[in-house]
Amino acid sequence: MTKTRKPTRQGRSQTIALAIFMMLQSVAALFFVADAIRDLSNAPVNAESIIEALTAFVLVLGIFMAGWQLRLTLERMAAQGRALDIARGDFVRIIETQFDVWGLTAAEREVGMLALKGIDLAEIARLRGSAQGTVRAQMTRIYAKAGVSGRAQFAAWFVEELLGDGISPPEAGEKQQST
């Protein structure tokens, strides 16, 4: 959980920093623009006022570009979030289908899901408000139904699902290295 959160949080603080920067830029730009308009309308146009007007124009352009960049970043973050949600949803669906196949009871499903999240026995018991012995018995029944020997194999079942037939390429790589 914490691993998946880190990059998005970093992305968020970046967007906030960019937004603050945009605000400061726009406050500064406003004074430049006001000054440029005043100069151009009051005095006869000279080189200095033209340069000032150009500076103001470029600054405003810069704000637009920063805004555009910010929008692209935000859209990319939203797309990533959606993709992550879909992936998560798919994975949950895979797990639940497998639980159906194994014919787990509602309680066993919850315990199994918590176990897959890597939560230890004592914590599961605390979360579910049941005795550790009960949870242990439930886990044993889950392993029996799944036909696995223990928690490592239980988790590996789903990892295998994720990897697909990703087991063979590393072996092939090793062979190539060894020969």
Partner: protein, 212 residues
């Protein structure tokens, strides 16, 4: 705690938390500007004018963002639609308002009303101060305090009836400012009612952004 979170991790549930950093920053900056200039700072003072100018910059950015920002921040996501606004208010009274990805129709009308008031206040403020930047004004005041009255002489040349039009502009400035304060109160009440009806804190996403 884990069991509770588990239900929300599916692809199905995604609570609408649409506010990006620009929307959030501009919202709170304008709120602060309205409160400070409407209730605290001395009208016509340098601080008052400074805050007015900053609010102007923030409003401009927000309006630009309404054109180029992400979908929820764009005007197209909350076009003014009085009929939808009224029907939304009725559904709110019945206690089951619909969820919207951006502002709800009633909120959208409020946003435009607040922006219009703010624009009116800023425009009249600029007219009253002769569109001088707060820096210029501070300089002039310092000069006057030192006994140099020449800066005052240059100002009102060619004004036909400075007294009358100035009075009207001032009147508009104050009326629009007061209207904005009232609308802000209605806005807060609306958010509270909506939060209660949806059983969801609508203020939190405006402070912290999306939950991820």
């Amino acid at each position: 705690m884990f069991a509770g979170r588990q239900t929300g991790t599916g692809a199905a549930i995604a609570p609408p938390d649409p506010w990006d950093p620009v929307v959030r920053l501009s919202h709170w900056l304008i709120a602060a500007a309205v409160i400070i200039n409407g209730l605290i700072s001395e009208p016509g003072g340098t601080l008052h004018i400074w805050i007015g100018w900053i609010a102007m910059a923030v409003l401009v950015i927000r309006l630009v963002w309404g054109g180029i920002g992400p979908r929820e921040a764009r005007f197209t996501a909350f076009l003014p639609d009085p009929r939808a606004a009224v029907s939304h208010l009725f559904s709110l009274l019945r206690g089951k308002p619909k969820e919207y990805p951006s502002h709800n129709p009633a909120g959208a009308i409020m946003v435009y009303a607040l922006w219009a008031c703010l624009a009116a206040v800023i425009a009249t403020g600029l007219i009253m101060t002769d569109a001088k930047t707060p820096i210029t004004i501070a300089k002039e005041r310092a000069a006057v305090e030192q006994g140099d009255w020449s800066v005052l002489a240059g100002g009102d040349e060619g004004d036909e009836s400075p007294e009358d039009s100035g009075e009207i502009v001032k009147e508009i400035h104050e009326t629009a400012a007061n209207l904005m304060l009232i609308l802000a109160l209605v806005h807060v009440a609306g958010v509270a009612a909506e939060s209660y009806a949806l059983r969801r804190n609508l203020v939190r996403p405006m402070i912290k952004g999306p939950p991820r």
